[in-house]
Symmetry: C2
Subunit: 486 residues, 2 copies
């Protein structure tokens, strides 16, 4: 440990309660990774502040000693955004877990970043309200992390991402100052810093308070399971439903391997002989739900559905969803390891992209299961592999990288709802041109002059892209010499 | 004219067609103001480029000669965002008026900035689609300006603002480089520059191409007119409808003065004895529309409605809306001049705020009519005055300023859908703290180092706020001496 680091830790110890600063290897171990466990790193120390003032003092010390900071919530992120830095502090916000205010009249709530996503809906349930974005990890994941990653979920198709469901943020800047952005109004004056901060993966500020929008619980919900003997037909049904002006609350696609795995594990009654199934949820008032259910039924038949099941009651609805919700662990039983990708494509490219992923699976000799948010074109291919077989992890990462590049090729994006973090940082060089990346760096500079907040994540340096060969380097010069500083 | 300016104009003349550069006073006159005609200024020159390459060359020359640029679309903005600068170029984009691509399958279209808002919906109508945001000026206003101002409209309550209805932008930076932001995907990786650019009022870049989202036309529409003898009851009905989980496509409130003015002008059949009316539009599939219509009817009765009229057919719907759409010109007939304010408040404060505006109207002895987007709390008080009476304009501006400060006081914002421009720049000092303003300036620096894009608009300098007394200045020092440079 350098003398600078020793002094920094002493300064923290001077005001933090003894159980709020962890330094021994054993106590640091639980924080070595987030949900992307292929990457592991012990931090210099872990701070567990109990309030805003402690965070401000911590950040001011980080500035003084130029110690980088990685902020972490529940650590359920899947792209390594909360991976610690060897020379950095890990700032854990799980103790800021209070719901500060519920305002049913204005349909909003003010919460601290460590509040679990589902806890918000539970707390406002008596008012007939809920918080819409529902990542699969909603039992565990915290709202601060949801904002940092702009998390989505099964219902994003109808209700939007985190950015569409928050009104206001309080953040602590890299300088340790409190900044309030957004308001209770539909559109705040000034630049839209609220959207800029949402999904910025901890690179622009520390989120300390969030005002979320609440929605009234829908009067009624209906779930349909539709089976197909051809994935292309399932993809076509997705396009037809959306084109007909129907926006289901959720529209999920599972392929053959995923269906079988889920059925083996959960016994949800899925048709295991099907090549693909769609799970479609419609919500709203009662006549609206009836009408859309009928229309979806007819459209799916036209697209060659081999079976359509409409859940008879809430119990059957839950059973149908249970298979989808357990799909990832179910697939996890098929191989020692799996790698969950996350990319987005225009909806009409679904059949083509699924076909090409299947071709690549043969080329790499690694099975792939597909379970994803078909309605918004958000793919989640799961590559099955065995990390104990030499070279398989590397092969899997290469395969995954090619899937993301395919997403960019057809006009989509390298992320859906999981963020870039450390996982997709190289693909950012494919997605963006040097000028676009340098504009990102200029934004970072505007918030964090010394680059202390989560450095090395989300946005690659131009040199990193150049080394990858993703950028044309002429005579040893980057394409825009004036951007050299990034 | 300085020799720098002369050289700059010569350099423009060298490549722009002769009808693409205006310099004589007479040809500059039509550009002296936008929709906020209380402010007028002739620019140094007006450029009317016909394509992107011309814009790039123009902007590079502006950089070379350090000439500021104000970008303008149709000039319908109401906050003076396109007010020219005496020493600046006015860049008029109305010749970039092509719809480049319509993609019905992906429900999107790629358009140039000079395309009129309504022209988009007309062009895609055969596909059963439309573009949702509908500012009152939609016949005339251009989509580039809509993006720059993050325009809303009657239907924003259900369908969102411009930022919720675009996917991708191509911009030319202050350095004259092409930058693409956003994608066809739901959430793009990297910082959310798309939202940052939307509503940035021409301060961060020149928008040259916009990919808009298209929506399927609703199956059916229903319009209700509900009369009240008490404005507070009308406000309560608004809250109750929204609390019941119903999101009407539009929910507009007009007060007594506005009702009478509209009825005199348009003969829409409005109940002139009413103290307030709500115009409520519901859209969706047929059973949904029926169900919501019934529920709204019942809720309004509970809130003390004195009359409820449900339009019998499309003709009557159009008639009911005609009064609302002509309300501004109708009110314009009541006095030589009127000043349209635009602020936002939390919905539940409607009765209180309307009462206090009415008290202020007595204090200033200036009548106020209210016509506004009640559903999203977006107020449009119209102050009636006579600019020919000495002091009335100043009194009106002061009154207007106090209305905006009232919006901030109750937790709302100084803008709804009209932007800040030059009109509300002083109220920005009330809305934001120095640290927040300086963060805005840091963003500006990250895009436009030399401050050439629309300088002096939207975001006030800290010194301007200090001079207004809106900021605590201690011993001649701004509260954050490190922010002195802004």
């Amino acid at each position: 440990m350098s003398s600078k680091q020793t002094k920094f830790l002493k300064a923290l110890q001077a005001f933090l309660p003894v159980d709020s600063l962890l330094t021994g290897e054993e106590s640091l171990r639980p924080y070595e990774c987030d949900g992307l466990s292929a990457y592991k790193q012990l931090p210099l120390a872990v701070a567990l502040p109990g309030n805003k003032n402690e965070i401000i003092r911590i950040i001011k010390l980080c500035q003084e000693f130029k110690i980088p900071v990685v902020t972490r919530g529940a650590g359920t992120g899947l792209s390594g955004g909360a991976l610690p830095l060897e020379n950095g502090l890990l700032l854990n916000l799980t103790r800021l877990n209070k719901i500060l205010k519920i305002n049913p009249e204005n349909r909003s709530a003010v919460v601290q970043p460590g509040v679990r996503n589902l806890a918000i809906s539970e707390a406002v349930s008596d008012h007939g309200l809920y918080y819409a974005p529902d990542p699969s990890s909603q039992i565990a994941c915290s709202i601060g992390g949801n904002v940092a990653e702009n998390a989505g979920g099964v219902h994003s198709l109808k209700y939007g991402l985190t950015v569409h469901n928050i009104l206001k943020l309080e953040i602590i800047t890299a300088e340790g100052e409190l900044l309030t952005i957004g308001s209770q109004a539909l559109d705040s004056p000034g630049y839209d810093l609220l959207a800029l901060m949402t999904g910025s993966e901890g690179l622009l500020g520390i989120i300390t308070e969030i005002t979320v929008k609440l929605l009234p619980k829908p009067e009624r919900t209906q779930v349909l399971l539709v089976a197909f003997d051809d994935v292309a037909n399932a993809g076509k049904a997705v396009s037809e439903i959306i084109s007909a002006g129907i926006i289901p609350a959720g529209l999920e696609l599972m392929d053959s391997l995923a269906i079988k795995a889920a059925e083996d594990f959960i016994h949800a009654g899925y048709p295991v002989e099907a090549t693909a199934i769609l799970l479609c949820e419609v919500d709203g008032n009662s006549p609206e739900v009836d009408d859309y259910t009928k229309k979806i039924h007819a459209l799916c038949l036209q697209c060659g559905a081999t079976e359509i099941r409409i859940a008879a009651d809430e119990k059957e609805q839950k059973k149908l969803w249970a298979g989808r919700k357990a799909a990832f662990p179910a697939i996890g039983r098929l191989a020692p390891d799996y790698y969950c990708m996350d990319g987005t494509i225009p909806r009409h490219c679904l059949p083509e992209v699924l076909k090409r992923i299947s071709d690549m699976a043969k080329e790499y000799d690694l099975p792939v299961a597909n379970v994803f948010h078909a309605g918004d074109g958000n793919l989640h291919p799961l590559i099955l592999y065995d990390a104990n077989i030499a070279g398989q992890l590397e092969k899997t990462e290469q395969f995954g990288g090619r899937i993301l590049e395919l997403c960019v090729e057809v006009g989509g994006a390298i992320t859906g709802e999981h963020g870039v973090g450390i996982e997709k940082i190289d693909q950012m060089c494919v997605q963006f041109k040097p000028l676009e990346l340098s504009q990102f760096h200029a934004i970072k500079d505007a918030f964090d002059e010394h680059g202390l907040l989560n450095p090395g994540k989300a946005v690659p340096t131009l040199h990193r892209c150049a080394e990858l060969g993703a950028m044309h380097v002429h005579n040893g010069q980057l394409p825009h010499p004036e951007l050299e500083r990034f």
